[in-house]
């Protein structure tokens, strides 16, 4: 009985199988934590706030040249948020004004070409542009938006 008491049958795990299981565990842990991180970032529970205070001269070139189409392209390409922030808000404002201008022009010319519905849609777009001129957020855009309106009135 004493020998039986002192003799403990220690079972050593197979080292190769143990190592394999540890590798599998690391692999599954990596997948789990990446998925969890992505899931929480998608739900905006975690994630860095983007620093927008960078150099905006890159956008100024198209802004001052009045190449609003290229400016729009750049803003979408670099995923600049459209939220009236102090760095990029003025670019988005003039781009939206130009969108209304372009659509108003298309509808106005379409109405002249015989499309009955186009007059009402043109008036909607001109109204939206006029509203933007009255409630302009960034002072630099006031003159530019007024110029667009004048151009439409001259059509």
């Amino acid at each position: 009985m004493q020998e039986q008491k002192n003799k403990i049958d220690y079972k050593f795990p197979n080292p190769v199988w143990f190592t394999f299981r540890v590798i599998i565990l690391l692999f599954i842990s990596l997948i789990f934590f990446f998925l969890l991180f992505d899931f929480l970032r998608e739900r905006k529970i975690i994630g860095d706030v983007r620093d927008l205070s960078g150099d905006t001269t890159f956008y100024d070139r198209d802004y001052y040249k009045k190449s609003y189409g290229s400016l729009r392209d750049l803003l979408y390409l670099y995923d600049i948020p459209d939220d009236n922030n102090k760095y990029y808000g003025k670019y988005w404002e003039i781009v939206h004004a130009y969108e209304h201008y372009v659509m108003a022009k298309d509808y106005t010319l379409g109405a002249r070409a015989g499309l009955d519905y186009a007059t009402a849609l043109a008036n909607d777009e001109i109204g939206a542009l006029a509203n933007m001129a009255e409630t302009v957020v960034f002072a630099e855009n006031a003159e530019k938006i007024s110029e667009l309106l004048e151009d439409l009135n001259g059509l």
Binding site: F18, L35, E99, D106, L109, A113
Partner: protein, 245 residues
């Protein structure tokens, strides 16, 4: 010991007398005590084994593998939307957020959401067409702003053709591999078509025959004819602008 019944000698640990089968109480008590002792020893051995580090590590690794595999499977199901309770149409899942964005007509947000979660191909086709059409319309507006200046003399025919092609794709809802007309997207078609028609007839000065040609989805292949049409449109516009002056 000596049997009380027949007087025969036998071992203390026997449960019965081998000669007369009389029950041996002493032997029974001995066996009970031995069994208890053996059980106690086995428990002590088990307790000692449980504290043995490699054994503990091995058990821990096994349990972690099972736990993390189940957790990962649940997370994959929630992330991809392939849950047993998800709505399905023709075997494809309907993502609840995508469905809500489509109902609320937030088409650009739908495009961004489907791109982020790689839902194209995994949701019903009208979702993909709607999202891609919104992105195509956004691109059409950019091309219109960039490549169609007020003075037709500044039109570059190749860029004009690019703009016209984009407009043709949206008007005929020929968006990549999603060419069919879907009832669910009818409102969206009606949102974009009026502008494209006004652009063709008004800004570009297309005739009714040209608009009819552009409205035919089959003409998407005939890029030579479209190139020729874009050159003619430019010349016509320059001539009209000259006549107006």
């Amino acid at each position: 010991m000596e049997c009380k019944n027949c007087g025969a000698n036998y071992r203390l640990r026997e449960l019965r007398c081998p000669h007369c089968e009389t029950e041996n109480l002493v032997g029974r008590i001995w066996l009970m005590r031995r069994t208890d002792t053996i059980k106690k020893i086995e428990e002590e051995q088990r307790a000692a084994r449980k504290k043995f580090v490699p054994y503990v590590a091995s058990k821990l690794v096994n349990r972690l593998i099972i736990l993390l595999t189940v957790a990962t499977a649940v997370l994959i199901m929630l992330y991809t939307g392939y849950t047993p309770w998800a709505k399905r149409v023709d075997g494809k899942i309907i993502d609840p957020k995508a469905e809500r964005l489509l109902e609320e007509k937030e088409y650009m947000e739908l495009y961004e959401y489907m791109s982020r979660k790689d839902l194209f191909g995994r949701t019903p086709e009208y979702f993909a067409q709607s999202a891609l059409m919104a992105n195509d319309y956004k691109e059409f507006i950019t091309y219109r702003m960039k490549y169609i200046p007020a003075d037709p003399k500044n039109w570059d025919p190749s860029y004009v053709q690019m703009t016209m092609m984009k407009a043709l794709e949206i008007y005929t809802h020929r968006i990549g591999m999603y060419k069919d007309e879907y009832e669910e997207n009818k409102e969206q078609y009606e949102m974009y078509r009026p502008h494209i028609l006004a652009f063709w007839k008004g800004t570009m000065g297309c005739t009714d025959e040209e608009v009819e040609w552009l409205s035919d989805a089959e003409n998407w292949w005939h890029s030579d004819e479209l190139t020729k049409m874009c050159k003619e449109l430019k010349e016509r516009k320059i001539k009209d602008a000259g006549a107006e002056k």
